[in-house]
């Protein structure tokens, strides 16, 4: 599903050049649930941004579902993002003046789905994350865990090939974190490919594979026995 070959990325900080990714290679098959771990500054968010086409690599190949992603115009990147990728952010990134349902329906708007279909689909995904009754609430009326579940529903609504989650539990307490991870595992069980960036060991162990990044290189890549989050959820 995802293949990355010899990816390099550096940032210009004034006169200094900061080499963030120093040749990353990895492959993720369909249906995988991969945790990308590393301390801050290890380049894990940069990697995720490049995977999410929000940022561009300097050199190296990125192949997503058989499509080589390179030299994207902003417009093309937007189309690809819309078609291939779903995002879950640490800070939820819901649009605060839109209701939960409208937020979930937004990627569908950019897919030119009609309003009625958008609403039907949005409700379906809200139901899946257990927030159907909250469909007409604004994000400000939701708890952190609920917001993240709305964000996950939004990411799923476009039916992407890959779900990219950047510290999805970073702003949540552990109970809520496990609930969110439970949801992510359920989505993964349905066959969706998910990449989770995290620096929390327990969250990483709820995935099926852990990639350790340090100073811009992969230092460890291992398959693990998945811990089911449902064990911690009442």
């Amino acid at each position: 599903m995802i293949e990355i070959r010899d990816l390099h990325k550096s940032y210009q900080m004034g006169s200094n050049s900061l080499h963030v990714l120093k040749g990353i290679n990895f492959k993720a098959e369909e249906g995988e649930l991969v945790a990308i771990m590393g301390s801050s500054g290890s380049g894990k968010s940069t990697l995720l941004n490049i995977l999410g086409m929000l940022d561009e690599a300097d050199t190296g190949d990125y192949i997503l579902d058989g499509v080589k992603i390179e030299k994207l115009s902003e417009t093309k990147a937007a189309r690809y993002r819309n078609k291939f990728l779903g995002f879950v952010f640490q800070s939820f990134n819901l649009i605060n003046y839109k209701t939960a349902m409208e937020n979930v329906a937004l990627p569908l708007y950019y897919q030119k789905v009609s309003r009625k279909d958008r609403e039907t689909k949005a409700l379906k995904y809200l139901e899946q994350v257990g927030l159907k009754e909250w469909a007409n609430h604004l994000p400000s009326e939701l708890s952190g865990g609920q917001k993240q579940r709305v964000a996950i529903a939004r990411a799923m609504a476009a039916e992407p090939k890959v779900l990219l989650a950047d510290e999805p539990t970073g702003a949540l307490d552990s109970t809520t974190s496990y609930e969110v991870m439970d949801l992510i595992q359920q989505i993964n069980d349905q066959g969706n490919t998910i990449l989770v960036v995290t620096h929390e060991e327990d969250i990483a162990h709820m995935c099926k594979r852990i990639i350790h990044l340090r100073d811009g290189v992969i230092v460890e890549d291992k398959k693990i026995d998945q811990v089911r989050a449902s064990e911690y959820v009442q």
Partner: protein, 421 residues
């Protein structure tokens, strides 16, 4: 273009506008004020224009008056300071020599340019009023508003030198009781009894007309004051398409040649050209219209710049939202369109409300001034092309000004936009 007619686009725009109410209202007020000023000013200028037009509607717009003074240059054997005697017969010469003249009538007056006003008596009431000796043609040059039941001096009055008179409104008030009908009654002017045939309202019959005066037939005047063939001044009306200034020059030239006045003598023949004054006033009114147009457009411009300003701030505020939208798949084009359409929509909304408010204020002013005929202000309207023009200007400006925040919105990378807190 497809985006423009897509229901979904508009739902997004209404969503964004409706959910940011304060911003929307503040933005709208700027342009609303601009278009309101524009409409109110343009309408007021038009009202003033109509008002001037109305004030002059009783008098032929290209009329002029000509009279004689003493000469200031010796000529043809005459000494300086000779009084130039204007004759009734000069009217015929002027009419024959200047084809642009439509009507010409000699006028004699007493108590207007010196001489004592005529003592007028009715019963125990008495007062002094200026007296005008008029030809019936005067009515064609300056429409006389005669009150019910009365009439102006006619041909037969002239022919038989009838002792009839048309009195001014004020004369009526001063000589008659309120419930009396003056028509047919007699008043004594200079010890001669005149029958009142009409009462006239104040009109711009001459530049010195009032409503406290008495009109009598020219021939009667001649006999009453023994003026013989002399005339005090001529009232002249040129054809509508004639150049009044040229006619004025011709009249002076002809009068100078008749009375053997030096052609360069500026003092000997005097004149007052209403046509020219009217032209100047209408020019002034046009100037005001033009000015109001400029001021209005400038105010609209200021308002639209205000919209751009607020959208720019709002784009900054919405950086994160726009970043989210782009992460979710909005293309730069879609983001740009969203911002521009918001700008145009807000501009139009403000414009339409402003036009309605402006029209409302104009109609209130119209109602308030409708009864006041002295004030030169009638029927303030704004021509439709001006309104459509203003709307077009607003759409164009709204688009242009929207381009700035729109460009700014897409110039930020989605990743930077998302990091914004």
């Amino acid at each position: 273009m497809r985006l423009l007619f897509d229901k979904n686009t508009w739902q997004e725009i209404f969503g964004s506008i409706g959910k940011n109410k304060t911003r929307t209202i503040i933005t709208v007020i700027g342009v609303l004020w601009g278009i309101f000023i524009y409409i109110a000013l343009a309408g007021a200028a038009k009202g003033l224009d109509n008002g001037f037009e109305r004030n002059f509607e009783t008098v032929a717009k290209n009329s002029l008056w000509a009279w004689t003074n003493r000469t200031s240059i010796p000529y043809g054997g005459f000494k300086i300071g000779r009084a130039v005697p204007l004759k009734v017969g000069d009217a015929e010469v002027l009419r024959n020599r200047i084809p642009e003249i439509e009507y010409i009538a000699p006028v004699n007056t007493k108590g207007v340019f010196g001489g004592e006003a005529a003592l007028t008596v009715r019963g125990l009431k008495s007062n002094s009023y200026p007296v005008y000796g008029y030809f019936p043609e005067i009515a064609k040059m300056a429409t006389q508003k005669i009150y019910d039941g009365g009439r102006f001096i006619n041909e037969e009055d002239m022919e038989y030198s009838r002792k009839v008179c048309v009195i001014g409104e004020r004369v009526e008030q001063e000589m008659f009781e309120e419930d009396e009908n003056p028509i047919g009654a007699y008043i004594r002017v200079e010890n001669v009894y005149f029958q009142v045939v009409g009462v006239h309202k104040f009109s711009q019959t001459t530049p010195f007309g009032t409503d406290g005066d008495i009109f009598i037939p020219f021939n009667t005047f001649k006999k009453l004051y023994n003026t013989g063939e002399s005339a005090q001044f001529f009232t002249i009306a040129a054809y509508d398409d004639a150049d009044v200034v040229q006619v004025e020059k011709d009249v002076k030239r002809v009068l100078k040649s008749i009375h053997r006045v030096h052609p360069d003598d500026e003092r000997a023949i005097g004149s007052f050209n209403l046509g020219e004054i009217f032209g100047r006033i209408m020019g002034f009114a046009q100037g005001i219209t033009f000015l109001s147009l400029i001021v209005g457009l400038a105010t609209i411009l200021a308002g639209v710049i205000g919209i751009g300003n607020i959208l720019l701030i709002s784009v900054k505020e919405r950086t994160k939202e726009l970043g989210i939208r782009r992460a979710l798949g909005a293309t730069p084009g879609e983001v740009r369109t969203l911002i521009i359409l918001e700008s145009v929509f807000l501009t139009m909304l403000a414009g339409v409300i402003g036009i309605i408010l402006g029209a409302g204020v104009l109609s209130i002013i119209n109602m308030m001034t409708a009864s006041n005929t002295d004030f030169p202000y009638t029927n303030p309207t704004v021509p439709i092309p001006l309104v459509i023009g203003a709307l077009l200007v607003m759409v164009i400006l709204g688009t242009l000004i929207g381009l700035i925040p729109a460009q700014r919105a897409v110039s930020i990378k989605p990743i930077d936009a998302l990091r914004e807190e």
